[in-house]
Amino acid sequence: MKSALILFICCLSTVAFSQSKKKVQFVGGARSLISHMSMDPGAADTVSRRKATGGYALIDLGFKINPNAQTEILGMIRINNEFGGFWGGGVTFDVRQLYVRGVAGKILRYQIGNIDYKLTPYTFYNNDLDLQMNSSGALGIKQDVNRYETFYTNNNTWRQQGAAIDFGLAFPKVVNEIKFNGFITRLNPTNFANILERLYGGGNMIIKQSKYLTVGLNHVSIFDLKETAVGTPAYRNNVSTLTAQSTLDKDKWRLKFNGETGISTSGLVEDTSALSDYFINASVSFELKDHGFKASVGYMDNGADFRSFGAQSKRINYNNVNSMFDRYTNDQVQRTTSLYDIYNDPNYYNQSISTGIAAYNPALNNVLPFGVATFNRKGIYSTVNYQDKKKYIKLDATYYRLSEVRGQGTTELKKFDFAKTKLDVNVSEMLAWKKRQTVNVGWSYQATNRAPSPFGGISLTTQALQIGGEFELVEDLFLIGNYSYFISRGNELLAVRDGNDEIINFSEYRINAKEGYYAAGLRFNFSEDVYLSAFYEGNSNNDNEINPYALNQVMVFYVMKF
């Protein structure tokens, strides 16, 4: 057996972090923002305030301690000072991060406290922001700040509090290796009265049979601990999936199959009518290595009752309201959430997984509002990726042609089209300039249609364009600029759900919205992780046709990470 089984630590090199490091390091970041915002709600509005000025300075100071080669402890505090808030008022102290991680017995890697975690797109996954296409320039700075604030990573992880472990086994025959990952986090504590302790746990086993085939078994569960409250029924959301990846890798091309299928159950533990359904998602991709070209086609079928809240939670909480100019007009109507607000207002962002179907904005994302794990969707999709050898341009394009699995209120199914493209143009490389010049373009189109019926059809289209550029004028000084345009028109029937997420009615949704945005300014990079930027931006919005408004803002950011 000894010869047949070799224990190993996956990525051991990355966790044997402290061999050459100091025992105590300071890590963190600092940021300062000054902004002046003005709103033009129209001449008829004689009630609303029109200008606001604010800002803050904050520092995140972390102590990374390596008591030995196998252990790392991080504690980070935040000191935040609202401008004008000296002498105690407006100053806050918070614990921002806390974790211990390391390797136990040279076998088991663990992390306790804050963990950034994900499994698969159908089990545990932090889906990208609605209509997030290509952010650079001023929008890139805001996105960078929002991600830092919310612990979102480029890797689609959720920041959770709990514990995680992983370890691996290597075999000389039959299979190459098996990796095990496990986690447990706390979603909400009990109130010792009527709210049960809710945990989220799971893990997976990834079997790499050979360089051709990798198979994974994944399971996650959101569950209540019984008897941590009195008289409250316990809830469960269990998701089990099987992933498979098969690769045929040649010198000039690569053919790859990717697939995931699984089942979910969701409901009260003792409720026999708990929702249960399954999904399948499979794709085949072909890559021409020498040409930087890759294309794939796939098929997905997510059951109408498939529920996996670890993968269906949204980054944006659309139930939140604006923290800036939240009401306007003489009637003080509530200003609806715009794309601009999503980039501008950190209050919209979720930092935890929500149990239950999250609110969404059909104008921003009606096709896959809960990511690729969105329930009640089936159809085909394809992707194209291209990057030329000299890296002048990089193109990513995705197209979904989907429909409902089960009709809502009618047997007639909605049809969905969703196309999105990102294009990065490296102008300086293209023109052989020494100064860095980049242009990023993102375009997104969504359409929802349902055939006309005696009660009217459904036709909702959304189109968004984002262009951003960064142009180096002199060394490390960049001219930054953005232009974006968003338009959404049509109608939809939105499901009204009860406390058990069952559809009890439909509400008519009509929109004829346009939103424009531009920004221009400068950014000076002191180093890779330190910059100062000042820009002016304007936003016009007629989401509410009767009450269009415009927002303008001057922002000065100083950002440092260390």
Partner: protein
């Protein structure tokens, strides 16, 4: 490698093909039900023009609509004024959704009479009318303690204080919720909570114990109680004395007595039903441990003591009582 790819592709296709056909299923309420035009496909009808509830017959109603709606059938006795309401949501009214056994929703109880039947809708203006004749009213299984239709049982014992405006007697008038008579209790006693009482001894029915089963979870005590408009000071106390040692008598010092206390703060007739095992033991109105075996024994019930009480400072108190009956397997459906 090829076989892996083939296996995965074939497996994916098979899994996809396995999805059950959901073409005919919908999520949520039908749009037709929400936005469709309302029409009557099958007219409103009664399954029989006359019904004999006394022999166990039932009657139901039928209708069919173009869409699901909230509907309500209101049956009103032309003589008694009794009301039965049956409601539901759907596109069809049939025996499953509208079967009527002769029971009521609002007092009084139906008599032998002709009833008006009206079908109406929550969000539609249409109203349809029919009639149905009750040839004999519904009878209720169970042990009848008192309905006061045959006068005062000589086996019952009673005491009435000598207060003001005392009126403890059986009355026969339109107030009666069941048949023609009820027991009226009224008076003002400014020195004591007790206004009057009636003890319904088992001996009045020819036995030492009430003829009930020994399953306290299966025996239900029911009665109809009237709250006088404008008066909320009546306290009704029902005491259930048991003969735990089977000596034929209840001894309060070492045998169980359970008590049901009600503050009559409502107006009009109300049906009160309670499972025998849910009746608590009270001492001075507070829960206490029983003095006997501590087990609810309906088969050892020797007497039901009904006391009409009121705080002496609150003045005149009045209520009415009718149709005291034990039922099995569930509360009374009059």
């Amino acid at each position: 490698m090829k076989k892996y790819l083939l296996l995965l592709v074939v497996g994916s296709v098979l899994l996809t093909a396995c999805r059950k056909d959901e073409v005919d299923q919908i999520d949520g309420p039908s749009l037709t039900d929400i936005y469709g035009e309302f029409n009557i496909f099958t007219p409103f009808a009664v399954s029989a023009p006359a019904v004999d509830f006394g022999t166990g017959e039932t009657v139901h109603f039928t209708a069919e609509f173009s869409k699901s709606v909230d509907w309500e059938i209101r049956i009103t006795g032309q003589t008694s004024g009794a009301v039965k309401v049956i409601s539901g949501f759907g596109a069809t009214i049939d025996e499953n959704t509208s079967n009527w056994i002769g029971d009521i929703t609002e007092f009084p109880i139906f008599q032998t009479e002709i009833c008006d039947v009206e079908l109406s809708f929550l969000n539609e203006p249409d109203v349809f009318a029919e009639t149905v004749e009750i040839t004999s009213p519904k009878t209720n299984d169970g042990f009848l303690v008192a309905d006061f239709e045959s006068g005062f049982n000589s086996g019952w014992s009673t005491f009435v204080q000598s207060g003001a405006n005392m009126d403890f007697q059986i009355k026969s008038d339109n107030f009666s919720p069941e048949q023609g008579s009820y027991f009226n209790m009224a008076g003002e006693v400014d020195w004591d909570y007790l206004i009057g009482y009636v003890y319904f001894d088992a001996s009045a029915y020819g036995a030492a114990h009430y003829p009930l089963s020994n399953n306290a979870d299966n025996e239900y005590f029911n009665f109809m109680l009237y709250g006088e408009p404008g008066l909320t000071n009546t306290i009704m106390l029902f005491q259930f004395t048991e003969d735990d040692n089977d000596d034929g008598n209840h001894n309060g010092s070492n045998e169980d007595m359970y008590s049901l206390e009600l503050i009559v703060d409502w107006e009009g007739w109300r049906l009160v039903s309670i499972k025998y095992s849910d009746i608590p033991c009270l001492v001075n109105g507070q829960p206490a441990a029983p003095n006997g075996n501590g087990v609810h024994n309906p088969d050892k019930l020797t007497s039901i003591n009904m006391l009409h009480l009121a705080n002496p400072v609150t003045g005149f108190a009045q209520s009415k009582l009718d149709y005291m009956i034990f039922t099995q397997n569930g509360p009374l459906r009059p």
